[in-house]
């Protein structure tokens, strides 16, 4: 028990169940449609309606942009259903400018490397993609180093 409390001060069950549901949520579209769902490409799909550059106009984005809205509507609804029936709203104390700057970096980085935590970290690894293994190892290591360094400088 000592180890559990050291590594999981908030308990472990909700993390396990949450992780299973994340996996099931990613598995359902695959079983039914054969499609692999990463989330960061949604942002590319949004711009594909207005930006004529080739990056936004590949066949894949034009074909998939319809259902990407459904996936994101589902993600938002899932968060809402949890809060309405099982939880309370927790509003982050991370300053807005930090969320915004981090958001820009996440936008640039995920498009440059081709995926995010779900696309590379879960779907890509589950498909045994070497590129996803390299990307996930790199962003996980970088994020841990950055978070540790920043926690010594900024406190909130």
């Amino acid at each position: 028990m000592y180890m559990l409390e050291t590594f999981f001060p908030l308990g472990m069950e909700h993390y396990l169940l949450g992780g299973v549901l994340v996996g099931v949520g990613i598995a359902i579209p695959f079983i039914m449609t054969g499609l692999v769902v990463g989330v960061s490409s949604f942002f590319t799909a949004v711009w594909s309606y207005v930006h004529q550059g080739w990056f936004f106009q590949t066949d894949w984005y034009r074909r998939s942009r319809g259902w990407k809205w459904s996936l994101v509507a589902g993600l938002v609804s899932g968060g809402a259903v949890f809060t309405l029936f099982f939880g309370t709203t927790v509003v982050t104390a991370v300053p807005w400018w930090q969320l915004f700057v981090a958001g820009v970096l996440v936008g640039v980085g995920t498009r440059m490397s081709g995926g995010c935590t779900s696309g590379h970290g879960i779907c890509g690894l589950a498909s045994l993609e070497k590129v996803s293994l390299v990307a996930t190892g790199t962003f996980l290591t970088t994020a841990i180093v950055v978070a540790l360094v920043i926690s010594k400088i900024l406190v909130w």
């Binding site: 994340v22 949520g25 400018w97 498009r111 841990i144």
Partner: protein, 140 residues
């Protein structure tokens, strides 16, 4: 049918993230600061479920009920962009504990400041996509 399936998948996905607390940057940061390893459990469990389904289901079914074929191994090459992009993404993730799926699900939970993160992601995507579109698609 594809859209309904995507909506249901997204719903379960977003519910799971909210249940795990991954929609709260503070929880994500507590993992990245190695104070609470819960998020690692979330990722590992989700990966295990996804791995079993991705590898197993195509062996059981010839084709998906509402699709042509199961997406398989793409074999995209590792390039300089893979590494540089992952470092930039990692800096953003470590700076504020945010990633695309968790930020979008967070909006549903009422964690409204994550809208700043989502707007930032849209802007970052536009910046990178615009620059990239100026180059030849085969440019490395």
């Amino acid at each position: 049918m594809v859209k309904i399936t995507m909506y249901i998948g997204g719903l379960v996905f977003g519910f799971g993230l909210a249940l795990a607390g991954a929609t709260q940057p503070e929880i994500v940061l507590s993992f990245l600061r190695l104070e609470d390893f819960g998020l690692l459990v979330v990722i590992a469990t989700a990966l295990l479920v996804t791995f079993v389904v991705y590898q197993g289901v195509p062996r059981l079914l010839k084709k998906p009920p509402y699709g042509e074929e199961f997406d398989g191994h793409d074999g995209f090459p590792v390039t300089r962009r893979t590494i540089v992009g992952a470092v930039i993404f990692g800096i953003g993730w470590g700076l504020a504990g945010i990633c695309p799926a968790t930020s979008l699900a967070a909006l549903g939970t009422g964690n409204w400041p994550l809208l700043y993160a989502v707007v930032g992601m849209l802007l970052g995507t536009l910046i990178y996509g615009s620059i990239r579109s100026q180059q030849d698609p085969t440019h490395s």
